[in-house]
């Protein structure tokens, strides 16, 4: 375990949800926590000072993207990823396994890692599990992820078996290569309980700073996500942080936190915002709809975010339809406020023993 990383379970709720505290060299993260996504080193449309004001405590960057552009040596020359981003709080990076797959950059996977064709310049590249750790340590993130092989939900069983074996082997190689950064292993295994259990067993025997559950939210039915997430969490060490990758809706955050997951990331609040979909306690507001054109009410009554205190639904609709950057920015501010406020309420509920009631009130229709 890295010297600059600690996790404390502050309180375990009867539901199974945990109130926790994650300490890194760049600050403390109260958990359960949602990590806004800063793929290229920026949360789209939001400045770091705004993220801080919204209550974000930890951001997620993608090592694969940053290694392609601007490149690891460039990030180092600029003082590391924290300096590049203008963010001095904790940072977690994903290693690249999922991104290579989701970007269609994957050429092939073999036992020695991932062969890809860069989505930026088309150049062929190879990422070995040791490289993935070296890249993330060079970026200077607080938490790195092991290289994993992520397969589609519909992958045949033999492909999932091979991916689990490789992910375990790569995890071991990555752990051996790790110098200082905290490192999480990633449990794979598709929708197969036995494979998930095998993956979790192997990784926990290796001893990581934390454990992620990957390969979910990749196209499987929501019921399957829940089943696998629930079964897998029981196989992870209680004393270590548990990160459910790529999840999810506000409802997902409540239900997976209740299972005992501590960390979450998802592009939903930011990507949906840019598409004009706003999260509110009453459900989704599709701001492009003509019904909002002359609606002088805010996106969400009583919401204290900058967008809702200053702009009407009609104004936001106009800005979004006119493709004004400010429209995307304001929608993103609201959605991130909704998510981060929900997480605050969730933690407050866990602290005072009122979970899930207080969190459900903040989630409204999403509870």
């Amino acid at each position: 375990m890295s010297a600059r990383f600690d996790f404390e379970v502050v309180r375990v709720d009867p539901s199974g949800a945990r109130l926790g505290r994650l300490t890194t060299a760049h600050g403390v993260v109260d958990t359960p926590a949602f990590m806004p996504v800063a793929t290229h080193g920026a949360v789209k449309g939001v400045a770091p000072e705004q993220l801080g004001a919204l209550g974000a405590t930890i951001l997620l960057a993608n090592a694969y993207h940053l290694a392609q552009r601007p490149g690891v040596e460039t990030v180092q020359a600029l003082g590391g990823l924290h300096a590049l981003m203008g963010w001095d709080g904790p940072l977690l990076s994903d290693s690249g396994g999922f991104q290579v797959m989701s970007l269609g950059a994957l050429v092939r996977v073999d036992d020695d890692g991932v062969h890809y064709r860069s989505h930026v310049d088309g150049r062929a590249g190879h990422l070995a599990p040791e490289d993935a750790i070296a890249v993330q340590e060079a970026l200077g993130v607080d938490i790195a992820m092991s290289l994993d092989e992520c397969v589609p939900a519909a992958a045949p069983r033999e492909q999932v078996v091979r991916a689990v074996a490789r992910t375990s082997a790569w995890a071991e190689r990555g752990l051996a290569a790790r110098a200082a950064t905290a490192l999480f292993g990633i449990v794979q295994g598709g929708l197969d309980p036995a494979l998930r259990a095998e993956s979790a067993r192997t990784l926990t025997a290796l001893g990581f700073d934390g454990y992620a559950v990957g390969g979910l939210s990749v196209g499987e039915p929501p019921e399957a996500t829940g089943r696998v997430a629930a079964a897998t969490v029981t196989l992870l060490p209680a004393a270590r942080p548990r990160y459910l990758m790529g999840v999810g809706t506000p409802r997902d955050l409540l239900r997976f936190a209740a299972m005992g997951y501590d960390l979450f990331d998802c592009v939903l609040p930011t990507r949906n915002a840019r598409n004009g979909t706003l999260f509110t306690r009453q459900g989704k507001v599709m701001i492009r709809n003509a019904a909002h054109a002359r609606d002088a009410r805010p996106v969400e009554d009583g919401c204290p975010c900058y967008t809702c205190t200053r702009f009407s639904r009609g104004a936001l609709r106009h800005l979004v339809l006119a493709r004004e950057m400010l429209g995307a920015q304001l929608a993103t501010l609201h959605n991130l406020h909704f998510y981060l406020h929900l997480m605050r309420e969730l933690r407050a509920a866990l602290a005072e023993g009122s979970f899930p009631a207080r969190a459900a009130a903040a989630a409204g229709a999403w509870a």
Copy 2:
């Protein structure tokens, strides 16, 4: 003159530059002032609270664009343009004459106004001079502009003669139609001193709240801009604000302020920012250039703006090249800071009698 509008010349510098104070229902504007451009009701990429923090005191919107989308009745239903924009400071709107021309939406001009084809939905429309005032009053701006006929720099003399006559006739009709909003007349006349003089004489005889000089910065040589602007300003009443439309570079702001112009607007700081061109005292910084890739210095040493205090040149270059919204936002914040700081220094120089020295120091290479 409108009851909610006043202008006071506080001090006239030996150079001819004036320190002034413009009072509107939505607040005071110390002049010379630069108006950031909010064509569709938003300064691209910048929230109103940020504009206030940058020192913007008055914004420019475009009545033609807003009448097309979201439409005047929609703006009214949303509480007026100030409410739509989330900006409670002074607003000036352009009437649409220039925009119809510059957008290629112009079908034809006749004595009764402008016939256009909407750049949004292709629908045919007609804007009479009275309509232009009615639209701007319905938007609720603090300062409206008369409808003018703006001709290209290369227009034949007979076209310029006709445009001056129409602009004068429309100014008179607009003035008669005006109910409450402060109204500026727009001097046209191309590059012809006699036509400019005729236009200025006619408009000043009508008696507007202020006077704009239009039809410059439309493709003519910079020397011609200076010659026409210098000759025209002497024909405008000293007690009324003088607005040089669509100007300009930091150098332009200094030289035209020295002629006695009080108000300026230009898309340069915001548009150039989105293209990766930054204004500094050392001149332009083209942030996309490879030379900046690993440059850990800020865009401008010693600049106190958010961008320069938090981000390196290399970081900004990365964000711009990765087409991250934040790159455009940060570049815009810096450029607006540069412009608005320059105007503050210009006013301070006029107030303390150190013009142009103090303003020139702020302008650096642009002086």
